[in-house]
């Protein structure tokens, strides 16, 4: 039995501890917002937070989550109110949308650590997240916008 918190709810699961966290989230817990893209930490579509750090859940065995707090896109905000989500809407970021959960989860850690990130900071934090539709210019703008919103206290 493996126990951890997902979006602040306790879960106890009887699964093979070597199963990647990604598939446990998607299949055992029905949290399909976290996506499979490569299975080898190359694309970032599966990015979630483990105790606040961005990790690639496709290569993290679920055993790594034991006793820890996992946050997925479903837990970013209950109502699209996270500054990044609001900025994503304002900049009309997504196209197909498949990579966006991972993009948002990576960006959320960036903003927590660097509330006013430079373009170089964005490059560094976001380069592990591939977008095949080419939404990078809008992601960059949206991160700056969210940072501005947070600094002016516009965000909750």
């Amino acid at each position: 039995m493996i126990s951890f918190n997902v979006n602040r709810q306790r879960v106890n699961l009887d699964v093979d501890p070597s199963t990647p966290l990604l598939w446990v989230l998607r299949e055992n817990l029905g949290l399909t917002g976290t996506k499979y893209g490569c299975g080898m930490a190359q694309c970032g579509a599966c990015t979630v937070h483990l105790n606040g750090e961005a990790i690639r859940s496709c290569v993290a065995p679920v055993s790594r989550a034991e006793g820890k707090e996992v946050t997925t896109i479903e837990g970013l905000s209950p109502d699209l109110s996270h500054p990044l989500q609001r900025a994503w809407m304002a900049e009309d970021v997504p196209q197909c949308g498949y990579c966006q959960s991972g993009q948002l989860m990576s960006a959320a850690v960036l903003l927590r650590e660097k509330p006013r990130p430079s373009d170089e900071d964005i490059d560094e934090a976001m380069t592990g997240n591939i977008c095949r539709c080419g939404t990078y210019p809008r992601i960059r703008k949206a991160i700056h916008r969210a940072a501005a919103m947070m600094s002016t206290g516009e965000a909750k």
Binding site: V11, L29, K35, Y36, G37, C43, D92, G97
Partner: protein, 717 residues
């Protein structure tokens, strides 16, 4: 006649109880959130196949094209809502089921491709909205006992002369009893309120909170997951397999041979994948066992030495070439490419004795349904496809052979239970249906004043249409039009021009890849015209201008891109610009790329892209498609190549088939030409110019011509 009662859709809501007690409600795709509202609202106005209005005021637009990022779930509702005079805040979308009434009005089947969704829907969706508006006005006229001619509409309400208002929701029941108008009058485009404005995409909220359902997210009651071991070499067949270990692995329910390989069906993806990897298969590798792309390209080079099938011939190119003051020859080569959608292929199937339901992200509903029906042994009407969101398409999910759907029906048949086939990234990359590799051998000449007098293009590459239902289009012309599009209509004023094509026969399955033939013809022609400009000692922009005097729309985008890029303005040392212009999918695009080259690495700093796509619907989406098109094309030009040795693909995942990342992404500026020409495409037209604009810029900075993609700069510095 309008029908009051909509067909009651099967709407299932169920909860999955995880062992920890976490309860998650899951909605089946195909039954959207809006469907819930309709269940509650009861009575509904459904004037035609494209629209429903509930008494709760919800306006649901049924979209007959697949949403793969290009924005049809916003643009098509905009067309309808404009004529309906709907309150945009009440408008939602739903994917259409497979039905002839949702056929593409030009292509005659349900399909998303050819950058055609907006232009093909432009009148269709407006008329649907206008008809509904007329019926709502008639309903209000009846309630008020007024002359319909005295009534007007505004943002979801009908208004009379005394400024009384009835909302569309209030009128829905009565409107449903009205006869649809025999004839509808469309708005004067000058009065458009929505069309032409950058309204936000309707699908953004569910794409940023994890709720959007893609094919891979589909979960039906009792459904198992399958992973298939497919041939390591195209055309290989299973001789025998040993599943003694695999079938005893945890969660495995079934291991079965299917036409494409061996399917492992398990409780979860991970269990199916581990067991799939444990199946030992002895393959009869067939004719492709020794296939190598380097040998193939060598053959292409040999083939290019002899004349091919004539596609276009103006004047006497050979005589003109013999008399030319200066000549130049160049051979351009482009590789096989994977579409590499972020969401790997997948398909869920629930096959019963008398029905087959399919959930997948497809661009090809009509074709997939017919193919699935054949495998299922059912008539077409017994097969339904629920189109989910597509995690990228780029042409891969429009497969004339319906490979991923057909296979999933075979697996469901073998499994005997509802099943979802999921492809790993490696499966997806090795699964074929690539952009074909192509070779262009071009010879050209200029006269003493530097004017081009002759151009001969000879292409070698596989046909996409050959062997498919589109072969008829080839018979008409004697060649595959998709192989030569973009060079057969070369716009430059060159009096002697020849285009020839050698159709290569190779056992690698090929398919349309965002911008199809233009993805290589744009590169070859726009690089070669640049080479001619150099030969003529002329500025590449001015050289093109002089040859396009009869093509004002080409000229307009060329001028706009050049002007916005500051073409003649000096750049810092080590940087240079390249330019390209191309017409594709009824739209005109020009791009200027600004690059530098350091230690053999090409860095693209800026791309300016100008488009004329005629009368446009949503400039925000158009800009997004231009940005995305340039990045998609730059990824291919700089990094991407599929190669084969001993019949086996050498690339497996993003580390060996790279995609441009945030830190490599240039600044992109987009400009749209304003006019009222017929709407053109936008998903693909932004792709062809990027590779040649970058390659021409690399020449400008290094003096080395790039004639092979992806760009390798080892010799160039």
């Amino acid at each position: 006649m309008s029908t009051l009662q909509m067909e009651r859709r099967e709407f299932l809501k169920f909860s999955v109880a995880a062992s920890g007690g976490l309860l998650i409600g899951l909605y089946l795709p195909g039954a959207s959130k809006l469907a819930v509202a309709e269940e509650r609202s009861g009575s509904i106005f459904m004037p035609n196949a494209f629209l429903r209005i509930g008494i709760d005021e919800r306006v649901t637009v049924i979209v007959n094209h697949s949403e793969m990022g290009q924005g049809v779930y916003t643009a098509l509702p905009m067309l309808l809502a404009e004529e309906l005079d709907a309150d945009w805040n009440k408008v939602g979308y739903e994917s259409a089921p497979v039905d002839p009434k949702y056929n593409h009005p030009v292509f005659g089947m349900q399909i998303t491709g050819g950058s055609s969704s907006v232009w093909s829907a432009f009148e269709q969706y407006r008329k649907a909205g206008a008809a509904a508006r007329a019926m709502l006005i008639a309903a209000a006229a009846q309630q008020w006992n007024a002359d319909p001619a005295t009534l007007r509409t505004g943002s979801g309400v009908v208004i009379d002369g005394a400024n009384r208002k009835l909302s569309y929701g209030q009128l829905a029941e009565t409107a449903a009893k009205m006869m649809p108008p025999a004839k509808v009058t469309l708005k004067d485009p000058k009065t458009f309120k929505l069309i032409g404005t950058p309204v936000k995409r309707l699908d953004t909220p569910e794409k940023i909170n994890g709720k959007a359902v893609f094919g891979i997210d589909v979960k039906n009651p009792g459904m198992l997951t399958a992973v298939v071991a497919r041939a390591p070499v195209f055309g290989a067949k299973v001789k025998s397999f040993d599943d003694s270990h695999a079938r005893n692995m945890p969660g495995v329910r079934k291991v079965a041979a299917v036409p494409s390989g061996v399917a492992v069906v398990a409780d979860s993806f991970w269990q199916a994948k581990l067991a799939r990897d444990a199946v030992r298969i002895d393959w009869d590798e067939g004719e492709m066992h020794a296939f190598s792309t380097s040998q193939m390209m060598q053959q292409f080079r040999e083939q290019a030495k002899s004349p091919g099938k004539s596609v276009r011939r103006d004047g006497d190119p050979d005589a003109a070439l013999a008399k030319a003051a200066q000549k130049i020859e160049a051979v351009y080569e482009v590789p096989y490419l994977s579409h590499l959608m972020m969401e790997p292929l997948n398909c869920a199937v629930d096959l019963r004795a008398d029905s087959c339901e399919i959930w997948t992200g497809t661009q090809f509903q009509t074709v997939d349904r017919a193919a699935a029906a054949k495998v299922a042994g059912l008539p077409n009407e017994k097969v339904q496809i629920h189109t989910t969101f597509l995690g990228g398409g780029f042409g891969r999910r429009a497969t004339p052979r319906s490979d991923f759907v057909v296979e999933a029906v075979h697996v469901a048949k073998a499994a005997g239970v509802p099943v979802k086939v999921v492809w790993t990234r490696e499966d997806d990359m090795q699964g074929g249906w690539y952009r074909p590799a192509f070779l262009h051998a071009i010879v050209g000449g200029v006269d003493a004043s530097g004017n081009p007098v002759s151009w001969k293009s000879r292409l070698v590459g596989q046909s996409i249409f050959a062997g498919t239902m589109f072969e008829g289009m080839m018979k008409e012309k004697g060649y595959d039009p998709a192989a030569v599009e973009g060079v057969d209509d070369l716009p430059y004023e060159i009096p002697n021009l020849a285009v020839e094509y050698h159709q290569a026969e190779v056992g690698v399955p090929v398919q349309w890849w965002r911008s199809v033939g233009h993805s290589h013809t744009g590169f070859a022609t726009e690089c070669f015209v640049d080479e001619l400009a150099t030969l003529a000692h002329k500025d590449p922009y001015q050289f093109r201008r002089a040859l396009l005097t009869k093509h004002p729309r080409h000229l307009a985008v060329l001028d706009l891109a050049a002007q916005k890029a500051g073409w003649s303005k000096p750049l810092p040392k080590g940087r240079a610009r390249g330019i390209a212009v191309h017409f594709a999918f009824e739209s005109y695009n020009a791009q200027v790329a600004e690059v530098s080259v350091t230690d053999g690495r090409v860095r693209v700093h800026r791309i300016v892209s100008a488009v004329d796509c005629g009368h446009y619907v949503n400039p925000g989406i158009i800009r997004a498609q231009l940005e995305g098109g340039a990045i998609f094309a730059a990824s291919a030009a700089l990094f991407q190549e599929l190669t084969f040795e001993n019949g086996r693909l050498q690339q497996t995942n993003f580390h060996t088939f790279p995609v441009m990342r945030m830190n490599e992404c240039p600044e992109i500026e987009t400009y749209i030409v304003e006019n009222n020409e017929k709407s053109g495409g936008i998903g693909e037209p932004g792709v062809p110019c990027t590779a040649p604009a970058i390659a021409n810029a690399v020449f400008a900075v290094t003096g080395e011509r790039i004639r092979k993609l992806p760009m390798r700069m080892t010799e160039a510095v």
